[in-house]
Symmetry: C2
Subunit: 305 residues, 2 copies
């Protein structure tokens, strides 16, 4: 036999009112319902919680201790139930994204979203496109942001922007417009093998360039930027990851002619996903901000030329 919430509710009301009959009225139940409920509770606990003194029910030593424990818990439970019934903006969203997006786009999206919906917790996982889409597939994240292509038919994909890969240097001598093959023998710093950014770039130039001089390989975009500084090197990375440095004049975009290396940013989620108001809002928010950030990126690029 187990205690029920209803019994606790009745018990707490009886304790605070003192009289069974009043509780019956205020709860719109019969007096006998209350009486039996209390009795049932005492059976479950194994001994009375009230002393029947005169007409009143007075908590006895056991009941008092019980009340002290139950009361705050019940209140909290009620609060939680109320919250979830009434507040749309309560939840915990798990987001996955690939490195570039995690580093340069998610922070401001999450930050901005959470200032509008403070009750929502967001967790962020990093992974490559394949890993992220697998997480979606098995339901271990709610939504993912990746570059490139996703194949699974269980996954819904929405294009949320275009990622532009640009050729970057810190050396002013290299900035002058030229064709890509003219730069092939300069010192190139690229991401490691297996990186999406690297593959896209090499794939894009493979018809025009026979042999690229890969001077150094690094696992993180930030490390590449450090290496670039004050050296005669080149790299090709996401425009958004060097936005700040371009504005500040620390790095320069090389005006490569006939060079337009792009890939889509995709937002992905499982087709069976239930779209709570919460979730919908997050999707909407993310899309809006993504477009904004990528647009402004392109504008800046335009001005810089």
């Amino acid at each position: 036999m187990k205690l029920t919430l209803r019994q606790m509710e009745i018990f707490l009301n009886v304790v605070s009112e003192g009289h069974l009959t009043n509780v019956a009225k205020s709860m719109k139940l019969s007096q006998s319902a209350i009486s039996m409920s209390i009795k049932e509770m005492e059976n479950i606990i194994g001994r009375p919680v009230f002393d029947r003194i005169n007409k009143k029910l007075v908590l006895n030593e056991v009941g008092r201790a019980f009340h002290k424990e139950i009361d705050p818990l019940y209140k909290k439970l009620s609060d939680i139930e109320y919250e979830f019934k009434n507040s749309e903006n309560k939840g915990m969203i798990r987001v996955g994204a690939s490195t570039t997006i995690v580093d340069y786009l998610m922070p401001s999206i999450i930050c901005s979203y959470m200032s509008s919906y403070p009750d929502v917790k967001i967790t962020l996982k990093e992974g490559n496109t394949k890993e992220i889409s697998q997480m979606i597939d098995e339901g271990s994240i709610d939504v993912g942001f990746v570059e490139g292509f996703v194949s699974s038919s269980n996954i819904i994909k929405e294009k949320v922007g275009v990622d532009e890969l640009v050729v970057i240097t810190a050396d002013k001598k290299l900035v002058a417009p030229c064709y890509i093959d003219a730069l092939a023998q300069k010192k190139w710093v690229l991401r490691e093998e297996g990186s999406g950014t690297r593959e896209i770039f090499l794939d894009y130039i493979k018809e025009k360039v026979e042999d690229l001089n890969i001077f150094f390989e690094l696992g993180h975009t930030e490390s590449i930027k450090s290496i670039l500084m004050n050296r005669e090197c080149l790299t090709c990375i996401s425009k958004i990851s060097v936005d700040t440095e371009l504005k500040e004049g620390k790095l320069y975009q090389v005006g490569v002619k006939n060079f337009s290396c792009r890939r889509d940013f995709l937002m992905i989620y499982h087709k069976d996903k239930y779209h709570s108001a919460l979730f919908e809002k997050f999707l909407f928010f993310s899309k809006k901000l993504m477009f904004q950030m990528l647009d402004s990126g392109q504008k800046v690029q335009f001005k810089a030329r």
Copy 2:
């Protein structure tokens, strides 16, 4: 519509097992019972808490937040229920006692009791006999300890010892055996009017002494003892309240001939009181210790003569 404990229990099990069918087996319910319970819960909350991804039920963003809130609460509730079902020694006893008993007997009783039953909380209220018996009558305390007589027929009285009033002084010159009337004109320090101790004493000597020289009146026994020190005064108070000072030789008992002023210590409780194991143990404990303390007090008195 309200959430039930059972629903939460099922929900939590489904979350931890991941599979509906396993939960059905482990809870010895049909699979459909689980399924419907979950669905009912989602109805109550107003939106799904699981995403039905492939065969699995995976918590969605709402469910995750809900689980995080519910899980610790449910565990705590289970603990409380278990505690109260299994532990006899859980409760909160409200004790009332008159001044003398509160000051000189209850501390060691409570202290000793609580070292045997650490889960029991005891609250102590002070009041005169009338106040204490009224509290018993209306159920606002569980048990009382008083001196003197209690009239109500709703109250069960048990004699737990004899309180002896003795004549005390700090002045060695006054210690010599004599009759009470010979001391009447000495300086007497008594409790204030209305005090039980004072009334008993005055009532006891009223046939033998016409006019007692009441030099000073004080509300507390401890104040009386302070006044006595190094002065040629007398008082008549409970033997137990000056036990220590007699042993240490700071105060002396006057060997008044033909003087035997006594009153009973009573333990009282309501006739309708439910006697939990807890309560019974406390009664037993109190009686035992009362007798012990009052006996030892009398032995000391005997030796001192």
